[in-house]
Symmetry: C3
Subunit: 357 residues, 3 copies
């Protein structure tokens, strides 16, 4: 492994980027610990469950003023930079709150138009500039690979700064995947955990980043079954199916939401990602068969849960919000807690947190 | 009252919104305390004077570093969200400073374009999302009723979050009314208080939100006289006059600024709100008779005060700024203090503050 | 001096602005200490070296969590307003980080479009409004003289608020000059300091604000030689040459980068400021002779340094970044430290800092 790291360190970016993901993942760890958080694939079950444990502990501590004040002492000496070139209020505020909970000071850049790129600066120089002032950069970018490139670049400077991927292109959004897994873990904690559960994913499976990440991460659990429900045009991509077959994860594909509801322990609804349409091809399609409505609730298991990465349009009736199985609002708040846990872990704070009483 | 609350809780938004204001006001209180701050009408004299007392106490504490540091411990465990869809730097920074004084961590959303509304999310879901991360939402919106609707919506969730109205449509801006009243209270504290004073309001009385709120709140005081001075087209609306008559508050209408100056204890100047013009109807009108100029100062009482909600255009000569009766800059700073007091009160901190020494 | 101050205080802005700079500088000091930081000329060698000493001390304290937490107690009771009408991410975040390091609460205004100027408020009223909520205003403005005018205006109010110039028009950017001087001071600390060094400045000397400030400040040191290297069209302006002659500072002008490299202790590279072009006159010029390339490194002295105010375009090969003489990234971070030192000094904190252990 040491050898691999040295080899990778001699590559230029284009060569590095072409290396296998497993190799690159090693490059973004230091001393056995995540240094940059870029890919869902950086989270084996053991690490994920450690993060879940930290998150749950933090939630507990955060119930009192004393606890919240104490949490703010943990990283009060650190500054983070939220660099969100692509708009995303939800993820932005979630990360910002996580930083606030840990006492970090936060600077925010929400568009490129305020940046020196106007004066002809390269994206690499811009990110290095931000690293001059911060201990952590949380970055969202429309361009695939840009967040990884930033982390790669900063790792080669005399003052490396941690990077968290807050969403990069159409590909990776690892903290969204973490929060989804945490919600499953948390919801099933009294019902045997995620192992052997049936997870149904509904909607735009072709272009939904969260559905892809979730599918990858479910390989960490035993006996999981996946039911993919989508219109023909938006079926899950072949690379995912190949991955599932390789790891012998059981899955079926269907276009029947209602017929499959009674089998599901979790129903993961998603929005049609029409911003990725090339020719408005989904504009006039009828997706009403892929919407969850109040009358469907009676078909669902008593201990099942309904999830959604939000924002939603018509995928879930607003009336369902009050059903105890509706978990999407809690899921959103879970995002704040798991991000808090992730940052605390990256700065090596987990033992301090477990020792709090 | 318990019965009323239950009834209101069963209504949908349209029904709720049509209910009488006195009924709705009850819905936005919890355990005898303001939970959401939405309307000027939520402030009877007793509560207003309590807020004035808190504000004055906080100002005193804030005179030393020790005091300021102590104030920041009060709500150091709380996070607020400033959600300002309609631009307003003054109110925004005033509220932000109030949050900072109390040690709150602040997130800010200053436009809708960064929000998930772009992805088709409903305004209701957006506000609920913000509530996931915050303990208090301070909201300004161009659409009448939108702030109230947000507070109503959040009150029905399992995790209700407080809402303060930072300006909603043409109608309500309760903290502006509070700061105006606080300035009157503070300025007249050595001269018998607000009771029996003559308040002159000048300018765009038809469309000025502050003039309307101030008129409502003056009903809480005894023997107050109001002189409304405006051009014919911008006279105070009939609903206000009806209200004043109902509560037997003495008022006169006039278009003579100079002739009335000597009677006034407070001269409340306002800007022509031409953003509410429908056909540029005020564009070519001459308002110079409704401007306060240096030569008018000698006509005014020695202990009178000059107020203005700001921003100003030509309503008050800049040269007047140095006159001791010019109170508008202090009025602005009072806004920060009364907002600090309001937030502290909403979180039940007043006793702690009074006990500080 | 007291007499001068009184005289200046009676002038209106136009008269004041026409007064000699040495006179105006006195107006912006209080009790022998910088009150507003507006001009490079406010920093005689003694004060500059005090600031360098504070900055270096703060850097040392900032190496531990305890130190960083302690620094945040220094100005935890103060609020600053970053009012940046002209975009500048680098300077903005640098100042914001400086405020965070000292524990200040920060409000930010990054454009005029959110401000009350939309409602017809004067720039003077806007700045006075901001001063209502803040203890320090850090301001960047595209209009020459606007920052000075703001400081002048606020000095005449009953509640004067400190102002720092974060860049004003084409003229002054004093903290950039300070950070450049600090980088020279720091880099040469083991090599006899800045005295007797040869400083080469390369590129757009005609319109580069930093080159001008640096030239002015070098008068504080003995035996300094300057080599100005630029294309004919972008030569240093006559007023600077006149200034240098007056103070007997040795300088030469040249268009030969390579031939002069071996004489330089510091090579200060700058970007072509084509945003100041009137008719795209530099658009088709070839500046490749004014770029520093890897093959030039062997021509440079072993202990020399390469500086750049950033952002860069092609002036310095990216490959040079790893050379130990490349100082521009450290220079950027120095900016944060010297700004921290400046703010701490303005609030009289230097003794407290020196006494920390």
């Amino acid at each position: 492994m040491a050898k691999n790291k040295i080899d990778l360190a001699t590559l230029n970016w284009e060569e590095f980027y072409k290396s296998p993901l497993e190799q690159r993942i090693k490059f973004f760890s230091k001393e056995g610990r995540l240094f940059d958080c870029l890919f869902s694939q950086q989270f084996p079950r053991k690490l994920m469950e450690k993060l879940f444990e930290i998150a749950t502990r933090i939630r507990g501590i955060a119930k009192s003023k004393e606890g919240l004040d104490w949490l703010q002492t943990l990283l009060s000496h650190k500054r983070s930079m939220l660099y969100f070139v692509q708009p995303s209020t939800r993820t932005f505020v979630s990360f910002q709150s996580a930083c606030h909970i840990l006492g970090m000071k936060v600077s925010e850049i929400r568009s490129t138009s305020t940046s020196s790129e106007l004066k002809g600066e390269s994206a690499e120089d811009t990110i290095r500039t931000f690293s001059s002032y911060a201990d952590l950069i949380i970055m969202r970018h429309f361009q695939e690979g840009m967040v990884e490139k930033s982390a790669w670049l900063l790792n080669s400077t005399p003052r490396p700064v941690r990077v968290i991927n807050g969403g990069s292109g159409k590909d990776q959004h690892p903290t969204q995947a973490l929060l989804d897994m945490y919600t499953l873990h948390f919801s099933f904690s009294k019902f045997g955990g995620i192992d052997n559960k049936t997870i149904m994913m509904v909607g735009d499976l072709k272009r939904g980043r969260t559905v892809r990440s979730l599918s990858y991460l479910l390989k960490n659990y035993k006996g999981v079954k996946i039911i993919y429900v989508s219109p023909e045009y938006l079926r899950i991509e072949d690379d995912i199916k190949k991955f599932l077959k390789k790891y012998r994860i059981s899955f079926v594909e269907s276009d029947d939401l209602v017929g499959n509801l009674k089998a599901a322990d979790a129903v993961y609804m998603t929005r049609i990602q029409d911003e990725h349409d090339i020719n408005n091809e989904t504009k006039d399609m009828d997706f009403s068969n892929f919407h969850l409505r109040k009358e469907h609730l009676r078909l669902m298991k008593k201990n099942s849960i309904i999830m959604h990465p939000l924002p939603r349009r018509l995928e879930i009736d607003v009336e369902i919000d009050k059903d105890p199985r509706a978990m999407y609002w809690r899921e959103e708040r879970n995002g704040m807690w798991i991000r808090t846990a992730l940052i605390a872990y990256m700065f090596g704070m987990e033992d301090t947190i477990f020792n709090f009483n």
